[in-house]
Point group: D2
Chain length 341, copies 4
């Protein structure tokens, strides 16, 4: 039994972690905290937890975290966890950080895109980027996991096999991303209220979103080339799910879709959460909703430049808390699918 | 050409007023204000107004209102207009106030349900309750209109004919109301964000909603009896529309639905915005959406106590801004339907 | 390991059964069938089952059911299972029937409300009404479970404790029910398409819905009195969930809400899926979504006639498939909560 | 007063035509027909028309059309109007056809993408493609208007100015289109029902949609080059609106966004329904909802290959019925904005 805590328990990712971990036979939730006015039973915040998890959600307190937990899931807004992590690591806690604070090795990019000075840059190198499909071996031994962003999870998994196999041009990658609204977090804001979002659809942060350098850094590390992408995220009036329609340019026009599919199948052949679709079939958000799967479908034709990859994930699971538990399972030797099906 | 201003132009009711009045051949919008940080073109707030209304939305200023307008629509949160109205009336402006501040003659009820001391109680008597179906003659000569609430509009129009005709018991009136989300106003609040409201449904302010005394006061004034109602509003994940399912107890069990329907038809026979459905047909929200109509359907059977009245309106039109313009049309002698079809 | 089959696997209830049973450690799904054109892997119908359940969904065949299963979940449209059940019982299968075919002891009511002649009336008496809160002991030994309807589950659980304790008048029960759209089943119909349902809200089958006699029969059996109810269901534009706002008349005006709450708490004190809210708190659909809970909140005041009970369930879980598995767990001696949390 | 008829009055486009034309001071609706079982008052089909349009919706009858109307709006499924139009033109009716039957000059493309043999190919040349921004002069004198498709309207208006100005490569045009659900028509189908569409998001007809050749043909006619596009449409769970995110490759990397914007402003400088956004601002669907506007926003940077154009329209207005009335206004010399604001 691993005693775990969740810091930031009242956000969407924190809430999802509670739901998953309650089902996990090897986990005991021993600590919850959030930025709240005063301590309050978590079952008063999330009514459906009544009778299932009777524990107080506290105000964050390093000492309580260290004394009650062996591992912490940190589901905090960006720029908050970089203050807490150095202390917690010293206390020998393991940490799975769902924020962006340790995802980028290139501090300049972090400081530019998050518009803040990094407060514990010395630790960045210790962090393992928690995408199991790329870093499973390192995750096994990690003390600090930088859990990937939702858009980057889908984007990297959708592009990388073609990039590694040298099938695509590296200068014309376009990701047209569509996200459900929980991706924006549980934040009061006039633009977020129901009647502003419902029956609307918009692009935002056009080619300036903070997830771009994360995708570029991972793609570059693996390909050995400097990769620049184009990225246009859109907000869709639904609660959960990300669909990315990725436009790539094939190096060899003659490549057929079957060949592409077999490259991806080979790349992911042992992966428990990747599903490759046959030609002419494409994933929908509802195929992955409430699951930790990442589904991939492909379009191209011999004679055409364009390769289209369509990727679907649940932004709160494979895009956040599900992936965090997948990383936890790897770190502690559980079946990687434990509590994720 | 009547020069009109809208105070509170950036809320849902204010926005809807702009849309209607732009189509009105007898109106010129000469003034807009709202509680904003600094003056800004209204077309930057509502992008779709680009090229259609190029006027600055200002910070509220009594003198500008008085010098630029002949009539003001005040679409402000409750408790704000009661400070402004005395001054504006003195300046000879006509006012259609969409807030609750002058709707209740019983100040004690106002102060109890809105939890604030009334600041201009002396003016309440001057205000005409702006429900044309009841007060058309008074509206013609009014200087201050207290435009009815959305729930009361549907509730009063649904109950009054049966009450006046003495067909129902007065001690067991139940209104089960369902409202779209614009009814909650354009306000940032954690409970209002899209992913909290979408795919959810809840009752709120169960039998304590501030619209109860408004309905009770109007029903009592007309029936000459002290009427108490039961009222349970529910929030529905859609943008606009109110459906009220009203449960009444017939005095005479033998009454058939046809008789009820003919009573309502007679009561509303000259009304331009009331539509009575034949038996076994019931209004849906989409029958009234984007219209100023109030639709009514009925269920009862000879031998049964219960009479069910189902009422549908668009909360932003017949429930707010449409009704305000209907009142305006009456005050200025326009065709009552002008710009409302 | 119990070998189970699902007949009607492609409807919403069947799909939900698959999801739950895949997590159940004591169950093996050995058979799936549906009214389809030709046999097809279930993972082609529900993409998210890829890699999780690789079994063919067949056309219904009694012999295959009998040879492959020990128990069948029948999730068929009403009037279909009454043809199949007699044969299957003879083959010694246990059956949990999610349709209405064996729910009503009063055949006349069945034939009137479902507008069809019953084809196996002799079996109705053998069926146990599968509401564990009322019939747990009978369920343990049952061979045929008539799994309750979604509206009746919420309605009966909301009314019965007050009725048994003789706190309410029996002639003025009103249920104002609101249901998500999966309640309408997976059926192509012009009225069911997205753009007709979205941003709309309507009452339907006003006081003539086929779930009325089911509620009345169960309430009558327990109270020993002939109970008539009034029932107005409404369709809400969300996928899942039922909220029922129940209006009851207290026999004793002096009763306070605390007393009501304690009656309900006592009645349900050992129930694993009933949650009683404290005064002034009311359940929302999202408190029960994706759970098997039934949540209850209460309003009344000393001096008022009216008692309001608000009930929330997930129509596909406690209102259908979750309750079916709860019954299964009881029949086979599993923990009643197994796979339902 | 022009006597007009609407054939296909019960679909989404037909319904929208009724709404607009009811407001039009120069139009009398004298005929409505649809594929229905028997004649029925249109106000029984669309409840909100009660008291506003009391006319029978008939079964289609050429003679009645010819005797009652001067102009017909045909809002029929593709492949139906090509049977009716030859007869009607002979009877001297003017026709605005909202289907695809006369949009493509290249019959082979029509027959390939609509999978049917064209039945009146001789008439195609007579038809004027009803995009006023391109063909206003021809529309003035037209007898048969082929009203553009919804996706093509947005796509052509978004791409053409850059193409004409020779700013972009012609071999790498990508349109990532997102459409509300009314775009799919009012058709019963299992995939169209609310609970299948709500909370889902998917791409469909990936690079094989029938609107591709329409866009390509118009772009080619104007640029004098053979243009091929890539086109991926997505279905979004909202009722109305199209957003197209268009990815183009600049010929000259140095071009700045300001230069692009000024090219588009010049191209559309006299257009009553085109709005060009300043840099860093992008249209949202709600900016154009319930309007006939087409809004355009732009992203590029000096040094980058990519030019992104984001286009928003209401698919039922500028994408169908609004544009049809715009064409009507041009044909009959009304103010082009009449009844469209």
């Amino acid at each position: 039994m691993v005693n775990v805590g969740i810091v930031g328990a009242t956000g969407y990712a924190g809430e999802e972690l509670i739901k998953i971990l309650l089902r996990h036979p090897g986990v005991k939730i021993t600590y919850l905290s959030a930025k709240i006015d005063k301590p309050i039973p978590i079952s008063e915040i999330f009514g459906y937890l009544k009778g299932r998890l009777e524990i107080i959600c506290e105000l964050p307190d390093y000492k309580r975290m260290a004394s009650l937990c062996e591992l912490l899931f940190m589901a905090l807004p960006h720029t908050v966890s970089m203050e807490m992590v150095p202390y917690l690591l010293k206390e020998n806690l393991k940490i799975i950080d769902l924020s962006a604070d340790y995802r980028l090795r290139d501090i300049k990019n972090y400081e530019k895109f998050y518009n803040v000075k990094h407060k514990s840059p010395q630790i960045i190198k210790e962090a393992v980027y928690g995408l199991p499909e790329l870093y499973r071996e390192k995750i096994k031994k990690a003390k600090l996991i930088a859990n990937p962003g939702c858009y980057p999870t889908a984007g990297i998994l959708g592009i990388l096999p073609a990039l590694i196999a040298d099938l695509i041009e590296t200068d014309s990658i376009i990701i047209d991303a569509k996200s459900g609204f929980t991706g924006a977090g549980r934040k009061p804001d006039l633009n977020n209220i129901f009647s502003e979002v419902n029956e609307n659809l918009k692009a935002y942060k056009v080619n300036i979103h903070q997830h771009m350098p994360e995708i570029e850094e991972q793609l570059s590390r693996f390909s050995g080339k400097k990769i620049k992408i184009n990225f246009v995220p859109h907000l869709i009036p639904l609660n959960r799910g990300i669909l990315e329609t990725i436009y790539l340019k094939k190096k060899d026009k003659k490549l057929e879709v079957k060949e592409i599919i077999s490259v991806y199948k080979r790349f992911y052949k042992k992966e428990p959460f990747i599903r490759i679709y046959e030609e002419k079939k494409f994933p929908q958000i509802k195929d992955v909703l409430y699951t930790n799967f990442c589904d991939l479908g492909f379009y191209t034709k011999a004679g055409e430049d364009l390769l289209i990859v369509i990727v679907a994930i649940d932004n709160l699971l494979k895009g956040a808390s599900g992936q965090a538990v997948q990383n936890f399972n790897i770190m502690y030797g559980f079946n990687e699918r434990e509590s994720l099906l």
